[in-house]
Each structure stands twice: as C-alpha cells, then as structure tokens.
C-alpha cells in the first residue's frame, strides 16, 4: 500500500501538468466558493494557495518542484501586468480629470504607510534593519526588492511582507472600503493599488474596469514615489 502510494506521489511530482492543474483547479474552486459564500476566507487567491499547499503536502511534492511546474504562469506575470496599460488608456479621460485625486491618494497612502511603520517600529523597539524592511510593504515586489536592498533591509522578509500585505488587500480591501462608506470607484481603485499593489489590483479588476485601471496606475506611481521617499524615511530616528 505505502509502496504504491509512494509510487503515485512520485508519478505526480514528475508530471509537469500537476502544478498547473492544482493551481487552476484551486483558483476555480475559490471562484465558485466565493460566488456562493462571499466571505474573505473564500477569496480565490486564498483558496488556491490552500489547495496547492494541501496537494503538495498530500502527494509529497516539494515547493521547488511545484515552482518549476507552475513556471508558465509566473512567466506571464510581466506580460499581463503590462496589459494594465489598456484599461488605463481606455479610462484616460477620467485619469486626466482626476489627477488631483490621484496625487492625493498616492501622497496620503505613502505618507500614512511611512508613519505607521515608523510608529510601530518605535513601539516595538525594532532594529533599523527591520524598520527599513517594513517600509516597502505596500509597493510591488520588484520595486520593493530594489529599495530594501538599497536601504540595507532584509530582502526575503521584505518579499514575504509585501506578498502578505497584498493578500490582505485582496481578501479584505473592498469589504473594509464599503464598511468605511468609501464607494467612489476611482477612489477604491487608487486605495487598493496604493496599499496592496498587484495582488490587490487583481481584486480591483474584479470590482470593475475603473477600479482596475486606477489600481494599476497607483501601483506604478506609489512604487516610484516610494523609491524617492523611502531613503528619507529611513533617516527617521528610532
């Protein structure tokens, strides 16, 4: 029995379609669950992560194997992010009309992010390395890595913090905004993009094209502003 189970696990680990099937299948399950029971736990992203981790555990497939098998999906990240320019182009009249709101959202979000990280660092007596590691948490990973390195932070922790912040924005973002009576689609998109980069934007796209376009724009602008602001924020005394 165990011998045949091991054989099965081995077959799965060496089947290059395994990774894609559990990923797409998990995501599909999440979509169906969320449609029926719209609670944050059933956000497609969370469900797919859980399904994948469970499948990897059950069939003893290690993460590096899964990573290689799911590479076709990761490969598409840059091309698909680039396509955020399409909703942005379609909504460009709105963008021009709302440049003040865009500037306000990016400035308020970046400032509050720095302020909160600094306050928490003060309260918990964080070391400088840890403080700068958290500074980049709301920007897209690719920019975050560069900034963290430059400031002397811990890159693996920064990546984990960035990704989990994105998941929080993805799973809870629209709910919290509605709770705070923030219904304006442009403002929703901007907020989600500012606070939770591409992972949040994936959810913003589901809320509507306007939310998606402004969230995508906010990723780029917040990332660029943080490149300028983070080195200054790193100088704050702890």
């Amino acid at each position: 029995m165990t011998a045949s189970y091991d054989y099965l696990c081995d077959l799965f680990a060496h089947n290059m379609f395994f990774g894609l099937i559990v990923t797409l299948g998990g995501f599909f399950l999440g979509l169906s669950l969320y449609k029926r029971y719209p609670i944050p736990l059933f956000t497609p992203l969370l469900v797919s992560i859980l399904v994948i981790i469970l499948s990897l555990k059950i069939f003893h497939v290690d993460y590096s194997t899964y990573k290689a098998q799911s590479y076709p999906l990761s490969y598409l990240l840059t091309p698909s992010t680039i396509c955020l320019a399409i909703p942005l182009y379609r909504q460009f009249e709105l963008v021009k009309k709302n440049w003040r709101a865009i500037a306000a959202a990016i400035a308020a979000g970046t400032a509050s992010n720095v302020l909160i990280v600094w306050l928490v660092a003060l309260i918990f007596h964080l070391e400088h390395t840890e403080y700068v590691t958290f500074l980049t948490k709301s920007i897209t990973t690719a920019i975050g890595i560069g900034v963290t390195e430059e400031l002397g932070g811990n890159v693996p922790i920064a990546c984990a913090v960035i990704a989990t912040s994105g998941v929080v924005g993805n799973a809870l973002g629209d709910r919290v905004l509605r709770l705070c009576r923030l219904y304006e689609p442009i403002a929703q998109g901007l907020g989600i993009g500012v606070a939770s980069h591409a992972i949040g934007t994936a959810r913003a796209l589901e809320l509507g094209e306007t939310q998606g376009a402004f969230s995508g724009l906010a990723i780029a602008l917040t990332g660029l502003l943080t490149v300028l602001i983070a080195p200054l924020a790193a100088l704050l005394p702890l």
């Binding site: 994948i52 999906l73 990761s74 399409i86 306000a104 509050s112 948490k137 984990a160 989600i192």
Partner: protein, 119 residues
C-alpha cells in the same frame, strides 16, 4: 491567427521593458516600463486598441493566477517572518488597511469636492 500579432506586441514590449530594467540603474521593474511603453504605443496609435483588446483582456484575466505560485512560496519563508511576528502582523493587517482607507478617503474627498464645484 488573430492572437498572434497582439501576443507578439506584448512579448516585444516585455522584452523592451526587461532591457530597460537591466540597463537603467533604478529599482524599477520591467512591467512598469512595459506599462508606460504600451500606453505610449496606444496613445500614438502605433498599436490600435482594437488590435490588442481581446488578447489584453485574456492576459489581464490571468494576472491573479500568475501571482499564485509566488504567494505559495510564502510558506517557505514562514521561519523568516516568525522573528518579527508581532509587529509584522500589526503592520501587515492594520498598516495595510489603514493605508488603504487613508488613500481612498483622500481620493474620495477630492473627487466629491470636484463634483460639487461642477454642479
């Protein structure tokens, strides 16, 4: 083969974005350069919206899926995060949501003021 041409456009722009990322000494990812290039190409009508719309919609729909493998990788870094667990949790949950609300509220305030002025 109506998908071939738009797909080549997107790949070519990804290629250009990657070239810029590798040559410009700033921590800016290829996708941000790429977004700017595609936007400029659409604005100047080098690429027409109708040409790229369908393929673009498909790729955008894939974006959440493309993020999943990296998010699964988080499980590998659990040990790293444990060290800064308490402040980390507060920041990741509270900080992210506070930033979200602050930035959305700022935008909504400006937009509602503009609408009042227009009326």
């Amino acid at each position: 083969m109506r998908f071939l041409r738009p797909f080549i456009y997107v790949l070519a722009i990804s290629f250009l974005g990657e070239l810029l990322r590798a040559t410009i000494p700033a921590p800016i990812p290829a996708s941000v350069y790429g977004m700017a290039i595609l936007f400029a190409a659409l604005k100047t009508r080098v690429i027409k919206l109708e040409e790229i719309e369908t393929t673009g919609a498909f790729l955008l729909a894939l974006m959440p899926l493309a993020l999943v493998p990296a998010a699964v990788g988080l499980v590998d870094s659990v040990q790293e995060v444990k060290r800064v667990a308490a402040p980390g949790l507060i920041l990741i949950l509270g900080g992210t949501l506070a930033t979200l609300v602050a930035s959305c509220a700022a935008a909504q305030f400006v937009i509602s003021r503009r609408k009042e002025r227009e009326e």
